[in-house]
């Protein structure tokens, strides 16, 4: 079965640079969630989209923005990168905003030098 696709898998940036992470949800899924997982930590919710509209916002820094496009893929844009932004960034998708299970991609590992 098709899964959530994230790209790139690994990304190395320097401080103050920008980065764009992409997420392609499972076909027919209309809701996308972004999570950040620091080393040895549990995933922290950043932001979510339903039918191309932002539906929920968590602890996402103002330096980050995201959107969901007409084909339901989503992009997380990160600017003025800081050392503390080094983490695994996961995207998950679900069918609808209800309590349907969220299915996760394998993440993008972002390293800031």
């Amino acid at each position: 079965a098709a899964g959530v696709i994230q790209s790139p898998r690994h990304l190395i940036k320097e401080k103050r640079e920008t980065a764009t992470l992409k997420c392609y949800p499972i076909p027919r899924h209309d809701t996308v969630y972004w999570y950040q997982q620091g080393p040895g930590q549990d995933p922290q919710f950043l932001i979510s989209f339903y039918e191309k509209m932002q539906s929920d916002k968590g602890s996402i820094p103002d330096r980050f923005s995201a959107q969901q496009f007409s084909d339901y893929h989503s992009e997380l844009n990160m600017s003025s990168l800081e050392l503390g932004d080094s983490a695994l960034y996961f995207c998950a998708s679900s069918l609808g905003q209800g309590n349907q299970p969220q299915h996760f991609g394998d993440g993008t590992r972002l390293s800031i030098l």
């Binding site: 999570y35 549990d42 539906s55 929920d56 905003q97 309590n99 394998d106």
Partner: protein
Amino acid sequence: EDQVTQSPEALRLQEGESSSLNCSYTVSGLRGLFWYRQDPGKGPEFLFTLYSAGEEKEKERLKATLTKKESFLHITAPKPEDSATYLCAVQAWATDSWGKLQFGAGTQVVVTP
């Protein structure tokens, strides 16, 4: 504030030695409780959703149960391939929240032959 606490932090089992993982939660209104399995460098893999107290779900050697305050993940006769970090997450009913998951810190399970 919603809270999810998992115990123990780590669990080392002999192959065939059954055990249980605990997930205690405090949430204003439970919309759903989710169990995930996460392997190193991978995204969380969905296992179960539980919606109401008394509910049970089963899959191979895993069985999840739910009460009003906690959930248990029972691992029966585990095999080395069951080694992973098991994450519990809750989704709450809230007017300003449309599905974000709040995760516990996870239980790292190692099953030795």
